[in-house]
Symmetry: C2
Subunit: 131 residues, 2 copies
């Protein structure tokens, strides 16, 4: 299966601008072109783009994704270093989750507190009175 840039955008959830941007900065290898010079994405391209979006979702900076992409391009010999990058990043993600969970507790505490206040003094905001 092959895909136009618009189709690739739809399937990956990225914008066509972002797809071209990722190519420009070296996150993806330039895809094939048709006779008219238009990009043609393969399934493998989309799989890679999907993985990239996962990395982005975790907050990996573009610069690190680029390093990973370039190692990948250099082939199997870089597998060790690539694994190392992912292991490091995984630690960051875990730390980030822990951080968010700690903040969640603070939010819970604050919200409980508002519940107390609102039970004592209800009707503070008229438009909220029945909520």
């Amino acid at each position: 299966m092959t895909y136009s840039i618009a189709q690739a955008a739809e399937r990956t959830g990225l914008s066509v601008d972002t797809l071209r941007y990722y190519e420009r900065i070296g996150l993806v290898e330039p895809p094939a072109r048709d006779s008219g010079g238009r990009r043609v994405y393969s399934d493998a391209d989309l799989t890679w783009l999907d993985f990239l979006t996962k990395l982005r979702l975790t907050g990996m900076p573009i610069r690190m994704m680029r390093e990973y992409a370039q190692l990948r391009h250099r082939g199997e010999a870089t597998a060790g270093r690539r694994k190392q990058l992912l292991v490091e990043h995984r630690a960051d993600v875990r730390a980030r989750i822990a951080e968010l969970q700690a903040c969640l507790e603070i939010l819970d505490y604050k919200i409980d507190n508002y519940d107390l206040i609102l039970r004592r003094q209800p009707g503070g905001a008229p438009e909220e009175a029945t909520a």
Copy 2:
């Protein structure tokens, strides 16, 4: 207890520039000033700044923090709306944690895969050979 801006920066982990920036954009009420016109932060100011940094850590956008701050400034009558903001944001944080956890699984899978590859083909990166 009172604090100079440098002390407040040290205690909150924010920079002095960020403290002034937060004041400028309305995240914090202007603190007291000493006879020479210098900012004097109170413990209450620091407590509020600490809470703000927690909100920032969770990824709450500044614009939302500002809305919260302005409601707070308007007093108890806005408690309902403030609670609502926090409840909405808590949902976002939970969703974000879930997203990160899903990505973690993908990272785990990828890393396991690299382990397999590396066991099959070790010594790919000489400098990594003993790791």
